[in-house]
């Protein structure tokens, strides 16, 4: 296996990042309906499974997922999702790269794990809601009393974060499984995987 990335690999990374971004935005639109906001991590990691699994068969070199993550978070940052996603996205994609390369981008369990970790960037997208919450309720409490502040706190409460992470992982596992199935059913037969 060649170690260094060539131009073809870089172009492939760009292509699959474009698809990933489009899938993300397509599902992200549903976030305007409040209840879907909570389901967003699940939907995004489920929907991105097919492209991601094909992506893994295309490049197979360390750094592929990191570059994808860097671009993805840049797009998210550039479209106004705040800075936390930059930090979280880079960490999760690097971790995901490490997991995947330890399985040589082939091992079944490790691709599923790597995919789940990679999708962790979605949490970074939602983090501003929780960061803002503290400073926000601080001023609210001083102006309006504890009762209302408490009700609002529970709506945006921190226990939602673990729920989001669980949804994310569930979506990731299902998405990865679907992706691998589709890979076998279509792409390998068509000779493009």
């Amino acid at each position: 296996m060649e170690k260094k990335m060539n131009v073809k690999d870089l172009i492939n990374i760009g292509l699959f990042t474009a698809i990933y971004v489009i899938v993300t935005f397509a599902f992200g639109m549903t976030g305007y309906i409040p209840i879907f906001m909570v389901l967003l991590p699940f939907l995004i990691s489920f929907g991105a499974g097919i492209p991601f699994m094909l992506f893994l068969t295309k490049v197979k070199k360390f750094g592929m997922v990191s570059i994808m993550g860097a671009l993805l978070t840049l797009v998210m940052f550039g479209t106004g999702h705040g800075w936390p996603v930059l930090v979280i996205g880079l960490i999760t994609s690097l971790l995901s790269d490490l997991i995947l390369s330890s399985g040589k981008y082939r091992s079944r369990a490790k691709t599923v794990a790597g995919f789940c970790v990679f999708n962790g960037w979605v949490i970074g997208n939602m983090l501003p809601l929780y960061i803002m919450r503290d400073s926000y309720f601080e001023s609210l409490r001083s102006g309006y009393g504890d009762e209302y502040a408490a009700i609002l706190m529970s709506l945006l409460s921190l226990w939602m974060v673990p729920v989001l992470i669980v949804l994310l992982i569930a979506g990731g596992i299902l998405g990865a499984m679907l992706g691998r199935k589709v890979l076998k059913k279509h792409f390998e037969r068509a000779g493009i995987a």
């Binding site: 474009a18 940052f77 999702h81 001023s139 102006g143 589709v182």
Partner: protein, 242 residues
């Protein structure tokens, strides 16, 4: 979609900013907007920064969007400053959530819109090269921007084909997974093929060659860049010290 990052020609603009300035603005404004409140000295900083996207929208001749932006900002600010204290119950919660969200995110979203609609891909690449970003990031990035319209076009064609065969979106609720498969698999196949062609074309044009590539776009800091950079840096300094 008229976004310039996706098209060949950028929209006409009165003030041309360096892409690096735009990125810096984005970073500072998104940081301060998300974490700030509307009380104390920080409120003035936020007010000043909220004007920046408005002025920038005007420079790319988006008057309608700019006015809409101002309208939303004023309503949300009013809501957060007064209505929060004079309403009760569910209404209060709704106002608090809505005005808080709008006030914190609209400026950033509008700035993002400006960033995308006023910057040409080539310009952005030139700026990245000037910032000594690795080619490993620049090449995939330009491919990605080049591909957004293509993916959208392919996806539309697939949608048409599905409708012709009576497989439109109506099966969505009964079988979302199958629908996802129907849509994504043909898309992937065509994208992979286009990707192969694109890399062949790019290689023949010398992408990835050892020489230094030139760029048709001239970028550099002008007086307006200096004005905005100073303004935003000063705002950040006040915000941090206050």
């Amino acid at each position: 979609m008229t976004d310039a990052l996706l098209s060949v020609k950028a929209s006409p603009q009165a003030i041309k900013l360096d892409p690096r300035t735009k990125l810096f603005l984005m970073f500072v404004i998104s940081t301060i907007m998300i974490s700030g409140s509307i009380e104390g000295e920080a409120a003035y900083v936020r007010l000043v920064l909220m004007c920046v996207p408005f002025v920038l929208l005007l420079t790319v001749k988006r008057l309608k969007e700019a006015l809409l932006y101002v309208f939303f900002c004023i309503v949300a600010w009013f809501g957060e400053a007064f209505l929060v204290y004079s309403t009760t119950g569910i209404l209060n919660i709704l106002i608090v959530m809505l005005s808080g969200l709008i006030l914190r995110f609209i400026p950033i979203v509008v700035l993002g819109y400006y960033l995308v609609s006023s910057t040409h891909v080539g310009e952005f690449v030139a700026a990245m090269e000037r910032m000594r970003v690795s080619q490993k990031l620049i090449i995939p990035m330009s491919v990605m921007f080049r591909f957004f319209p293509t993916v959208a076009e392919e996806s539309r064609a697939i949608g048409d084909a599905m409708r012709m065969r009576g497989l439109g979106n109506k099966g969505f609720f009964s079988n979302p997974v199958t629908l996802l498969e129907y849509r994504l698999v043909p898309l992937m196949v065509s994208i992979v093929k286009i990707g192969d062609e694109l890399s062949a074309a790019a290689l023949t044009r010398g992408l990835g060659g050892p020489g230094k590539r030139t760029n048709i776009f001239r970028i550099g800091f002008g007086p307006w860049d200096v004005v905005l950079l100073t303004l935003v840096t000063a705002a950040a300094a006040v915000y941090l010290l206050a």
